[in-house]
Symmetry: C2
Subunit: 138 residues, 2 copies
């Protein structure tokens, strides 16, 4: 079975060997095998596990909580409920983040339009004047 060195894995995941050793130290990678001389041999399954970790990180989950999950994985079937609950909670978090991003996007798009109009007019005053026009013509 093909294995990968720490720097190969780092390159693939856009991390550094420092970061991977740091994850290891923090207990995020308990399953990685070693040569007799201690060099890490990453299997595809280890890389897949790291991708899940990166996924959890991208939801804003702190490393210490990710470690809990890794520990639950080692503990076997008795922790299935916790792991299910955790992913359901993550799902809710990501849904909330999506909602937030949508609102952010609305503001940004509004600003894009605002500045497009101002740019076409050559001045930001166009937006202030618009209101005056309305009150005058009303």
């Amino acid at each position: 079975m093909k294995t990968y060195s720490i720097s190969e894995v780092a390159k693939e995941l856009n991390l550094t060997p420092y970061t991977l050793r740091y994850y290891d130290k923090e207990g995020l990678m308990p399953l990685v095998e070693r040569t007799s001389s201690g060099i890490r041999l990453f299997k595809e399954s280890d890389i897949a596990a790291l991708k899940v970790i990166e996924c959890l990180k991208s939801t804003g989950m702190p490393i210490k909580e990710i470690k809990n999950f890794i520990d639950w994985c080692s503990d076997g079937d008795s922790t299935l409920q916790q792991r299910y609950d955790m992913f359901m909670e993550r799902k809710a978090t990501v849904e909330a983040q999506m909602e937030e991003l949508k609102k952010t996007m609305e503001v940004i798009e509004h600003k894009c339009l605002y500045y497009k109009t101002a740019l076409d007019a050559g001045t930001e005053d166009i937006h202030k004047k618009a209101k005056i026009e309305i009150s005058v013509t009303k």
Copy 2:
């Protein structure tokens, strides 16, 4: 015109007075008026500006870059192009973040299903066994 104290504004925006003073120090709020004794008087328009700042922050924009934008605002119409470009770039950033979140969501939802199945079966082995079944029955 109604004005608000620093702690009223902080409460409204879910920040602290410390944070608002920090923003001020970093040049993010150049327009806030003061009493003769130096106390900040926030207008509705200042709160609106702070909401835009919070919006930019939520896109991951660092405070130093937000300061550039604030400076451009003070510089008037000559910076309209920069400001437009900035918001267009933010738009692209947020779109990319949405794509990322979608991918993240797919992984999370897959994991939810995985653990739901395992939980119903009482063991994670159900997923390993499934593959064996296929190869046996094939």
